[in-house]
């Protein structure tokens, strides 16, 4: 390893659900401090890759390291370095914003003396201090996403993992979520690993991108490298189509579609 340090290293990573291979021989390096985008159509294996990195699924073959820690052997230590925002809306609507964040402060063993202040600070960081005492079920879609971001940030993670963070949000709310992510990253230098199928977001915010299709990484590079690699003046969307063969809307199974729609409908 040269002077670059890696937040995530995957080698020969593979996972199958029965006979369906979701992640197939994936090699991936996420450099510390970068925003790394994992792009692909529904069912490409992005979420499964995330689940393998976050210790939720055991790897069928291959290995994952997070900050040099083998995920299979150091599950608890790896989890302490990760902030995770799943694709679905996962804040508890029956609790207030503050209570939602407090729960995760307790689950990450934030010392009692610091808890109140830390909770207040992350809520301020995502611009929810005024809504902190309201129940999350009264929040708008963008506010819920920002609340979940606060939950993921309460442990001061070195690696923030976001699975489709802006799915179903309107453009203004999408910008709001990304601005908060950018601010926190600038302030802390943490690494961000994000999955999305919004090409404009990937182009605008990611330092590097991996295009994933049918469980494999098809292309890897900075947005500019990928675009100029196809042809001068190409858009990221065209790169995406070139590698995935016009499959933007046509893949993904029933469960994927249902989850996406459920999230979208809950966001209103």
């Amino acid at each position: 390893m040269s002077d670059q340090r890696y937040a995530v290293v995957c080698r020969g990573l593979r996972h199958a659900f029965g006979s369906a291979v979701a992640v197939d021989d994936v090699d991936l390096d996420v450099v510390e401090g970068e925003i790394f985008g994992l792009l692909g159509p529904n069912g490409a294996g992005k979420t499964t890759t995330i689940r393998l990195i976050t210790t939720l699924l055991p790897a069928g073959a291959g290995m994952v390291e997070v900050f040099g820690l083998d995920v299979a052997r150091h599950r608890m230590a790896v989890r302490r370095t990760i902030g995770y925002l799943p694709q679905q809306l996962s804040a508890d609507g029956s609790l207030t914003g503050r209570e939602n964040v407090e729960l995760f402060a307790r689950l990450f063993d934030v010392p009692r003396g610091e808890r109140k202040e830390r909770v207040r600070d992350v809520l301020a960081a995502v611009k929810l201090e005024d809504a902190a005492e309201r129940r999350a079920q009264t929040y708008s879609g963008g506010m819920i996403r920002r609340l979940e971001l606060a939950q993921a940030l309460i442990s001061s993670p070195r690696l923030l993992i976001l699975d489709e963070p802006t799915i179903g949000l309107d453009p203004v709310a999408r910008d709001g979520v990304w601005e908060r992510i950018q601010e926190v990253r600038r302030a802390t230098g943490m690494t961000v690993l994000v999955t999305t199928h919004y090409m404009d977001e990937a182009d605008q915010y990611c330092n590097r991108i991996a295009l994933m299709h049918r469980g494999r990484i098809r292309a890897l590079g900075t947005p500019d490298e990928l675009k100029s690699g196809l042809e001068p003046g190409a858009t990221l969307e065209e790169v995406f189509r070139a590698y995935t063969g016009d499959q933007l809307e046509e893949s993904g199974d029933f469960r994927d579609a249902r989850r996406t729609r459920r999230t979208a409908s809950r966001l209103g």
Binding site: R51, L103, F108, D109, S156, A187
Partner: protein
Amino acid sequence: MTHAAPAVPPAGSADVPPAWTTWRLLPARVVAMCIVELQKIRHDRTELYTRAIQPALWLLIFGETFSRLRAIPTGKVPYLDYLAPGILAQSTLFIAIFYGIQIIWDRDAGVLAKLLVTPTPRAALITGKAFAAGTRALTQAVAILVLSAILGVTLTLNPLRWLGVIVIVMLGTAFFSCLSMTIAGLAMSRDRLMGIGQAITMPLFFGSNALYPVDLMPTWLRVISHVNPLSYEVDALRHLLIGTPGHLLLDFGVLVVAAAVGITAASALLGRLVR
């Protein structure tokens, strides 16, 4: 400028010495889950009231009627006194047996995945949920015991016995909520869990000593009652609350073992839910 930039501490400061976590992890997680449960109850008390209706009917109608009929021999103890601890156990059973629905809901909403990416071992998460169910059951128990006292049931005044009641209700609810979460791990859907829950609650209730003494049962039912943890819960509650002779140590032992087995089984199946 002090507040504009996100005041998140430098990355990596959440690292906690391993020695601290090993012995405090489980109680810390249980406390965290119980606090959330209390916060939820505080925000929405509807369920507390609606769930009090059924036990109230059992005590008011069934209890009062059978007290007058004197059909069930309970020795010197008035039937309503005899029944009250049984109804208390029954209503905590009802809370617990459908608790697994929450974990399926958590799975569908992504909450479960998020909880499992925190430094919380599966067994600690299940134990936390089990005792959170116990916390909810305790708030229910207060309502039933107040009603019982109003109806004239002579309850103990000994604070140590009340402490025992809390422990027994917690353990009993922990076991039955783990049974529910185990079924959730097998059934994998809310509808199926509802069906199975409905199918087993009444056999568990009638196959226990909640309504009538074991001596009155036919032999086959007596066998069921002997392997039914609800019977041990009722026996302990009856002994503690109204002072009937009981087997407190045995009851406590059975409930501890049952809760431990339940936690183990539910934790083992939790992986199926996040897959």
